[in-house]
């Protein structure tokens, strides 16, 4: 049975209304922009890393509930995480929202709430924008990320 609440779960509505880690990081050592040209979603990701782990992370910008909640949940999950674990989580999350493989869903915690976008192909890029931006920032890219 179709239910829009499968997409807009309570945790997503909450993180959209009060996004965590929202704002600039003045002492960020990595800053990267993400842009979704089709729908105009825009975000800037701020990272403070020591080469081993993500010591601090924040974002700002504007976008739909899915993109804002995804960035809020992602930054919450990433804080204090080793760079290796961050990369692994990126891959697990990517699998979660683009494939039928939900074997990782149990240890994705609150991020599992975003699994609902799978049923909305047009909205997958909303959820993945911040993740691709993080991935590129950790790779050392400086060109703004675009998702289509």
């Amino acid at each position: 049975m179709f239910d829009i609440k499968d997409l807009y779960q309570e945790v997503i509505v909450d993180h959209n209304r009060s996004p965590r880690n929202f704002g600039k990081l003045d002492d960020a050592d990595k800053t990267l922009e993400g842009f979704n040209p089709l729908c105009g979603d825009k975000l800037t990701l701020y990272l403070k890393t020591d080469g081993q782990k993500i010591n601090d992370i924040a974002f700002d910008g504007s976008g739909c509930a899915i993109s804002v909640a995804s960035a809020s949940l992602m930054t919450d999950a990433m804080k204090g995480m080793s760079l290796e674990a961050a990369e692994a989580l990126f891959n697990e999350f990517h699998n979660l929202i683009t494939t039928d493989d939900d074997s990782d869903i149990d240890h994705l915690g609150k991020l599992a709430a975003l699994a609902g976008v799978k049923a909305y192909p047009a909205r997958v890029k909303c959820a993945s924008l911040c993740w691709h931006t993080l991935h590129s920032a950790l790779q050392g890219d400086s060109t703004p990320v675009r998702t289509e």
Binding site: F2, I4, K42, A65, R123
Partner: protein, 420 residues
């Protein structure tokens, strides 16, 4: 289209406009999306097609398919006759003086590119100026930006006011002896504003500039008379006029088209080809290189027959009343903001909801079976003008009903519930 006064005495659901009969002509409307009846309110993006058009396309491919203007066999003659008959229907529909002024193109976008690259590029210099407006669809911005990059000409924009109307005083200030081309939309796709194009055309002509009107949103909703408007070029697409995608029309005054160089070259646009030189075909074939979208042209002819039979004027009044009803209902929703409140507007309701992004509105409405457009509507300068990234846009056609407007209003309430 100032139908407000004439509309008062006509009930849209009266016998002269049988909405159920009309809806039965559009088979696509009779389906469910996520278990709810489809409410199609994305007509400004593309309109649905009546059986009368679908059948003509089907019959063409089953019974008539053949290349035109070259065969001596019967099918080719039949296809050519149907193709040229559709050209005549277009000529009558927009009241052009001659079928030589009707050029078939892929759509409005190609028509504008044709004028920019053929007329514009062959006549503009770095001393010249082009005027467009902030209200334009990207298809009536980018071709002029490219032309101005190529020629060094200057591109000026007519600004819009808070209601989403062109500021005519500013237009008059922009007009000068260097202005060569003025290109504006007849009706805004993002906001529904009906522009005073007759005034714009007359003022441009007074200083010797040529005028192109982007009629993509206007032709489905209002009767266009190119001779009365006295525009130099008028562009529109078939798919917004209940016809097929991939076919559109460029109207151009004959003397202008004759003086213009070809846009694309190849077969059908030539009279004689030797290895040294070719001579070009007469109008309009000079601008129709290659095998055209024959079925599309014939389908467009069928779409014009359909709206003519329907009674175009009555349909326009019905649409206007539907928009008025939608505006009244939507105005009662707290937190709903209209974007574009022009005094003269048609069939388009662009809005935002406090705290809810238009893309989320679009997804939630889809869950209720309602198709709208959410985004910048290929009019990013308009969004920038209003300081917003996007709007939700419901756009109406004569097959929409008050019950569908009610469904839209209920679904907007649901958006607020989801985010409450």
């Amino acid at each position: 289209m100032n139908n407000q006064n004439t509309a008062i005495n006509i009930s849209p659901d009266a016998s002269r406009f049988d909405i159920e009969k009309i809806r039965a002509d559009f088979p696509i409307l009779n389906q469910k999306i996520h278990g709810k009846p489809l409410v199609y309110l994305d007509n400004a993006a593309t309109s649905q097609k009546p059986t009368q058009v679908i059948d003509v396309l089907d019959t063409y491919y089953r019974e008539t398919n053949s290349n035109i203007h070259r065969g001596v066999h019967s099918l080719s003659e039949k296809a050519t006759a149907e193709y040229e008959s559709a050209r005549n229907k277009v000529k009558e529909f927009i009241n052009a003086e001659s079928t030589q002024e009707i050029v078939f193109v892929r759509g409005t976008t190609e028509a504008i590119n044709l004028v920019a690259q053929s007329f514009g590029r062959s006549s503009l210099t770095a001393d010249d100026e082009v005027i467009i407006s902030e209200l334009e669809h990207h298809s009536n911005i980018v071709p002029w930006q490219i032309l101005c990059e190529q020629t060094g000409a200057k591109l000026n924009y007519i600004p819009i006011n808070d209601a989403g109307e062109l500021i005519l005083e500013e237009y008059e200030k922009l007009l000068n002896e260097k202005t060569r081309i003025v290109a504006v939309g007849h009706i805004s796709n993002a906001l529904g504003t009906i522009n005073p194009i007759k005034t714009i055309i007359d003022k441009a002509h007074a200083i010797g500039a040529k005028v192109l009107i982007d009629g993509a949103q206007a032709v489905p909703h209002t009767r266009v008379d190119v001779q009365e408007l006295n525009c130099d070029f008028y562009a529109f697409s078939g798919h917004k006029l209940y016809g097929p995608t991939g076919i559109g029309v460029l109207y151009g005054k004959q003397a202008l088209l004759e003086a213009m160089p070809p846009y694309q070259s190849g077969g059908d646009m030539i009279q004689m080809v030797t290895m040294e030189k070719s001579t070009y075909n007469d109008l309009p074939y000079k601008f129709e290189a290659g095998t055209p979208h024959i079925a599309g042209v014939i389908g467009l002819g069928a779409a014009i027959d359909y709206v003519n039979d329907l009674g175009f004027e009555t349909a326009s009044i019905y649409e206007q009343k539907l928009l008025d009803y939608a505006k009244e209902q939507a105005a009662q929703i707290t937190g709903l903001n209209f974007v574009g409140t022009a005094r003269n507007k048609t069939s388009i309701l662009s809005f935002t909801l406090d705290g809810i992004h238009p893309h989320d509105i679009g997804t939630i409405l889809d869950g209720e079976g309602i198709a709208i457009r959410a985004g910048h509507h290929c009019a990013m300068p308009v969004m920038e003008r209003f300081g917003i990234p996007a709007t939700a846009r419901a756009s109406f056609a004569f097959y929409n009903t008050r019950a569908e407007v009610d469904a839209l209003i209920q679904a907007i309430d649901k958006c607020k519930q989801v985010f409450s």
